[in-house]
Structures are given as C-alpha cells and as structure tokens.
C-alpha cells in the first residue's frame, strides 16, 4: 500500500495563484472599477455576489455530471467528486445569498423579495443542503452513494423547473429591478473587475474542491485499511 495523502505540488502552486488572484480581485473591485453612479459604493459587492453565484452553478453542474458518472460506472471516485463539488458549491451559494441582501437593502430598500432569480437560487441552495444531509444521515450505510447520486440528479433537474415556475408565479408582481445599466452595457473596467473576481473564485473553488476530494479519498482508504485490520484480527482469532 502506497502512502497517499500528500497533496501534490501543483496544488500548492495553485494556492499561491489563488491568493494573488484574490488580492487582484479586491484591488479591481474596490479600487480600479469606477463607482456606480446611482448606487454608489455598495454596488461593489456585485463583483463578489455575481462571481459566487457563477461559481456555485459550476459546482452544481459538476455535481450533476459526477452523479451520472457514478451511476454509470460505480467508481467511488465519481462519488467523491460529487460530494466535494456539492459541499464547496453550497459554500459559494451561501456567499451569494449573504451578499445579495447586503446589497439589496440600501439599493432596493428591502432585504429580500420573492422574485424569480432570488427564489430559485434559494431553492437550489436548499436542494443541495438536502443532498448533503442525505449523505450525512445515510453515512456508513451501503446505499449512501447510489442514493446520493439519484438525489443529485433529482435536484439538478429541479432547478430549471423551479426557475420557470417562479417566473410564472411572479410575473404579475415584478420585484424591484436593478436600476438600469447593469445588463444594458457595463463599463469596461467593471467588466474586467467582474471577470477577475470570477477567475479568482474559480481558482479558489478548484483549490477547495481538490482539497476536499483528497480528504474523501483518504477517508475511503482509511475505511479500507480498518476493514483489513478487522479481517486480520478475525483470522488470528479463528
């Protein structure tokens, strides 16, 4: 048995790159990007808010693909990919859901509104928290991995239906809208700041994801070693 568990060198390189990217992101978001005319300084949270949402989407999409791959191949590594992506995705989703109201209160005058995008992001976050709870409740149970994979597929399929139904639900009562300009043309410096932040968050995602993935693999290895030890004891007793 090869002693694993040491994180590869590229990972440490990536941690350094992520640190630099995050510092660049702060500089761009808080310094280089111009202040938005109507919303003022509070608009700067937008760079983190949108980046975290995009990163969470990427994570949940990876979770979905890994769930499919696990059901197809039954290789534990796909299950490890799925759980790592979901966990880190929930963290980014949480960042997104916290930064949103902080921005909404001064701009819209309210913390929260049940508009299509907000509600479907919240439901998506709830679905993946459920996914993680299922894993936790079913830990040590032989069915854990297939159940989690099946639920991962149920959850991912739900997201577009949730979005559609909430858009139908709330079309009569449109929530407050972003004060023009965000979608219809954005200052190139703002555009750059957003993409620097998104790149930094993606790097951070990869770092956290790989770290978590290795942890999952090590847990599996430990479980296997323990099982072997158990068998060895049994043999000696017999």
């Amino acid at each position: 048995m090869r002693a694993q568990g040491v994180l590869p060198r590229w990972w440490f390189g990536l941690v350094g790159a992520t640190g630099i990217a995050l510092i660049l992101g702060v500089l761009h978001a808080l310094w280089f990007a111009p202040t938005e005319r109507t919303m003022g300084t509070v608009q700067r949270i937008f760079y983190y808010h949108v980046s975290s949402a995009w990163t969470a989407f990427v994570a949940f999409f990876i979770n979905f693909l890994a769930c499919l791959a696990y059901l197809k191949t039954r290789r534990p590594k796909w299950d490890a990919v799925a759980v790592s992506a979901a966990e880190v995705g929930v963290i980014f989703g949480t960042v997104n859901l916290i930064t949103g109201p902080i921005w909404a209160k001064p701009v819209w005058g309210i913390w929260w509104t049940w508009d299509a995008r907000l509600t479907s992001t919240l439901v998506m976050w709830l679905l993946y928290v459920s996914y993680l709870l299922l894993r936790q409740f079913a830990a040590e149970h032989p069915g854990q991995r297939v159940w989690a994979a099946a639920f991962g597929i149920f959850a991912f399929v739900d997201v577009p239906i949730v979005y559609l139904s909430i858009r139908l639900w709330r079309t009569q009562h449109p929530g407050p809208v972003i004060a023009g300009g965000e979608q219809s043309g954005i200052d190139p410096r703002m555009f750059l700041a957003l993409h620097v932040c998104f790149a930094a968050f993606l790097l951070l995602f990869i770092v956290l994801f790989y770290w978590r993935y290795r942890l999952e693999q090590q847990r599996a290895e430990l479980a296997e070693l323990r099982a072997r030890l158990q068998r060895l004891h049994m043999d000696r007793l017999a």
Binding site: L127, L134, G143, Q144, D158, S165, L168
Partner: protein, 224 residues
C-alpha cells in the same frame, strides 16, 4: 406476469393490508385535520387576499398528511424481509414503485376527499371557478407528492432518522409542484387567474419525475 399485473398486485396488496390494519390512514387523517383546525383558529379569511392564503394552508395539510403516510410505505415491508421477497419476484423494480405509488395516491386522495369539505366549512369558502378543473389539479398535485415521496421513502426507510429525512428531501424537490397547486387552488377558489398554465406546469413536473423515478428505482433499491 405482465408489468401491469405486477403493478396492480402490489397496489392491491398495499390497499388490502392497509384496510386490515389502518396503520397509516387514521393517524394521517387526524394529523391533517389537526393542522386545518389549528390554522382556522389562527385566522379566518375575510378578503380575497386572505382566501388566497387559505389555499396554501390546505396544501400544507395535504403535505403533512402525505409525508407521514409515505414514511410508512416501505416501513411496512420491514417484517419478515418482505421487501427482499418483493424484489425476488420476477418483475421489474419500477413495477413495485408504480404499484406503491398507485396505492399511496389512492390513500392520499381518500384523505383529501374528507379534508376538502372540512376545509371549505372551517374557512367558509366555496369554489367560484370550475370544480372539475380543480379536481384535475388535485389529482396531479397528489401524484407529484406521491411519486417523489414514495421514491425517497424507499431510500430513507432503513435509516435511523427516516421520519426526519423524508420531508427534508421531499419538500425542496416539490417546490415547483407546490407553487403550481397553491396558485391553481387559489385561482379556482377565487374564480379568477390562470389555471391552465399551472396545470401545464404540474403535468410537466409529473411526467419528468415519474420518468426519473421509474428509471432510477432499480438502482436505488440496490442500496436498501
């Protein structure tokens, strides 16, 4: 044995054993009734906006009834390795799921048939829209809860915290169906608003999740 026959025998078996034990219907019905009574203590709808809210209460009662009932669906097979025996029968796993779903949908519809008149009485409501269209909403909404709920019940039945975990899985997945049934019920009660579009959402939801559940059930049973 054909697929349909297998499905029917499973459903009949569940109906028969429930008719003999009344293990879940009584408790479920009483629980849902309590929900309705407690809510009617807390508020009485006087305006149309409040009547709109009442439709949410009705579906919360159905949801609680459904969850407490579905939880028993596979739990009843625990004695004498009944689930093992069912899996040994020469039929596909999806027939087992479909049979159980049919039986559960019947139980829930039965409970709803008792709860709806009580709801109308307690909250002093009547249908201003077409009742026949609402019956379709009721059937589609019930199926939406039952198909996912039965599927998840098969996963959670062997876990220690199954009673807690089942609603945690079922509720977030059911969000679109719940929005659709509550809105459609409000539209039927008030006699205004879009009913057709919510029926379409419900049909889409039911078709997608019935297909997924039937496809994945074999896999899920492996774990139990």
């Amino acid at each position: 044995m054909s697929y349909w026959m297998a499905t029917r025998s499973i459903a009949v078996k569940d109906l028969r054993s429930e008719a003999r034990t009344r293990e879940m219907t009584n408790a479920m019905l009483f629980f849902a009734l309590l929900v309705l009574v407690l809510f009617s203590f807390s508020f009485q709808p006087a305006t149309d906006e409040e009547r709109r809210l009442a439709s949410g209460i009705l579906w919360i009662a159905f949801l609680f009834a459904g969850v407490s009932m579905l939880d028993r669906s596979f739990w009843r097979e625990r004695m004498n390795e009944c689930l093992e025996a069912l899996r040994l029968t020469p039929t596909s796993a999806s027939a087992l799921l479909l049979g159980k779903c049919l039986a559960n949908a019947l139980f829930l519809l039965l409970a709803e048939a008792i709860l709806v008149p009580l709801f109308l009485v307690f909250f002093d409501l009547s249908f201003r829209g077409a009742v026949s269209a609402w019956l379709l909403v009721l059937a589609l909404g019930t199926w939406a809860l039952v198909v996912n709920g039965t599927f998840f019940a098969a996963m959670t039945t062997n876990l220690r915290s199954r009673e807690l975990l089942l609603p945690l899985l079922l509720l977030p997945v059911s969000v679109p169906a719940l929005i659709a049934v509550v809105e459609a019920t409000a539209a039927s009660l008030l006699g205004e608003g879009a009913l057709r579009v919510w029926i379409q959402v419900l049909i889409a939801f039911d078709v997608i999740y019935t297909t997924l559940a039937l496809l994945l059930f074999e896999t899920v049973l492996e774990g139990t």
